[in-house]
């Protein structure tokens, strides 16, 4: 049974006004338990709108959302429970920090769940460890942390709720390459260690290629492609037609093939490219091509 499923999900903003906008149209997708899914698309393609339906922040204009097989809007009063099971980290989550200490801020989610003090403490420390925040930082005000640390503290605040599904909307936006790699690495690690379902929203092909196992490509509020990462990236031509820049390595592979090199399948991470090009180079070296 998929952990999250949508059926013919559509959402329209400001219906009945001059500013009416249909953000997503007729989306039916299934997200399996334990997946590490990347959602990719242009700005305005409906990625954020879609994920805000997964935890019931937005109510579908039409269609349904199921969590573990149950319609989340069956009992609208119980929607908070859904939000504890599906944790959503917003874009620029550091803007939501408000407590006196980082520790208290991370504890905000778990305390809203009504857990006892010991359990909250355990979860806060575990989450802080996952994102690599040291104990002395937890005592500081969140406003004293550096940009990257703030971001990680905010992510820890959602991780500490230990949701079944963790959704991160553009978690690497505005970070330097090192900060980006750190956070993506921590997310993968968290996913592997807990077997949590993770949904990663991004418009960076590189980020998705590096991290996700499956990819969902969105185009103008609808699903354009959905499948294993390798499969989606093998259709590099179609991706470029949608206007999504494929990773630089993939582009190199496409160009090499166009010039008659037998490079095989498209690579989408540097690691893969290395493994595929090395034998070719060795052969080339021997043959003098």
């Amino acid at each position: 049974m998929p952990v999250i499923e949508t059926q013919n999900l559509s959402h329209t903003y400001s219906p009945g006004t001059p500013f009416v906008k249909e953000a997503i149209t007729d989306i039916s997708v299934k997200i399996e338990k334990g997946d590490l899914l990347g959602i990719i698309g242009h700005t305005g393609s409906g990625k954020s709108t879609l994920v805000q339906h997964f935890n019931g922040l937005l109510r579908p204009t039409s269609g349904k959302v199921f969590l573990n097989g149950r319609d989340i809007w069956e009992k609208p009063k119980k929607i908070r429970e859904v939000r504890f099971k599906v944790g959503l980290v917003f874009q620029y989550p550091e803007h939501q920090l408000f407590e006196e200490t980082t520790y208290k801020d991370i504890a905000f989610g778990p305390s809203n769940m009504g857990l006892d003090a010991d359990e909250i403490d355990r979860r806060v420390r575990l989450a802080a460890r996952f994102v690599g925040l040291k104990d002395e930082l937890l005592k500081k005000s969140p406003f004293e942390l550096s940009g990257g640390e703030k971001r990680r503290a905010a992510i820890a605040g959602v991780m500490a709720m230990q949701p079944d599904v963790l959704i991160l909307d553009e978690p690497t936006a505005g970070l330097d390459p090192r900060g980006r790699d750190t956070i993506l690495g921590q997310i993968s690690e968290y996913q592997q260690e807990n077997g949590t379902t993770v949904v990663l929203v991004s418009h960076s092909m590189e980020d998705i290629a590096k991290t996700a196992k499956k990819v969902l490509v969105m185009k103008r509020g609808a699903v354009a492609m959905y499948g294993e990462t390798a499969e989606v990236f093998s259709r590099a031509g179609e991706l470029e037609a949608i206007g999504l820049a494929v990773p630089a390595v993939t582009r190199i592979f496409m160009q090499l093939r166009a010039r008659g090199f037998e490079v095989g399948e498209n690579a989408y991470t540097v690691r893969q490219a290395f493994e595929r090009l090395l034998p070719l180079l060795r052969k080339g070296g021997a043959g003098g091509a």
């Binding site: 935890n55 922040l57 939000r83 944790g87 917003f90 803007h95 939501q96 709720m161």
Partner: protein, 270 residues
Amino acid sequence: MRDIALGQYFPGNSFLHRMDPRVKMVLTFLYIFAVFIPRNWVGLCGAVAFLAIAVLLSKLPVKLVLKSIKPVIPLVLITSALNIFYVSEGTAVFEWWVIHITTKGLITASFIAIRIICLIAGSSLLTYTTSPTTLTDALERLLSPLKIVRLDVHELAMMMTIALRFIPTLIEETDKIMSAQKARGADLESGGPMQRIRALVPIVVPLFVSSFRRASDLATAMECRCYRGGMGRTRMKQMKMRAADILSAAVVLAVIAALFALNFFIRPVL
């Protein structure tokens, strides 16, 4: 939160949109004054007709103008009701216990209702056809004589412009922060008054922090472009009075004169 129509500018290119904002502003004030002149039905109908023509000239959807009246409906109803029940002159049409409803009361009530509606619709026509920044620019120019009494009109107008400019941004920001905290299980809808106030802390604190951040960013950006207040500052878009503006002013003044004249020639009902 998104649906609040603050600074409700509705872009367009009609006669009213192109008018000099200073003239438009003064004429709107004059019109508000004018709806209180008529003391007979002909004059009042004239004031309503003038507004109707202005709405047509603005090419705005009529529905939009009607929507602007919606928030004042309770006020209209209350003032009308007070007039119906308290005016005791004139012939009675309905009497029961302490309630006397008279013709005079009904007339007064409908005059007041129509006046309030014209007043609101007329002033919203100004805000619909003029962007908030243009409006404050016009205000700055109109108030510039106050410089003599050492009032820094430019600074005042700049503050208003910035405040207006950031209202939609702040609404959007509030929306985002509320969603983010709800995603962390914040409960904003239940509990007693104290609990609800406490529930606002996770929203108000980040909002303050981001407002200060924005303010300092904006100050830096303004300084980078060498902003040094109003002294010797020139404008890219000069406000110009054209023949059409003078004509409109003449029409409005003529309407006001006519309304006054009608009060003399037609027997007042009020």
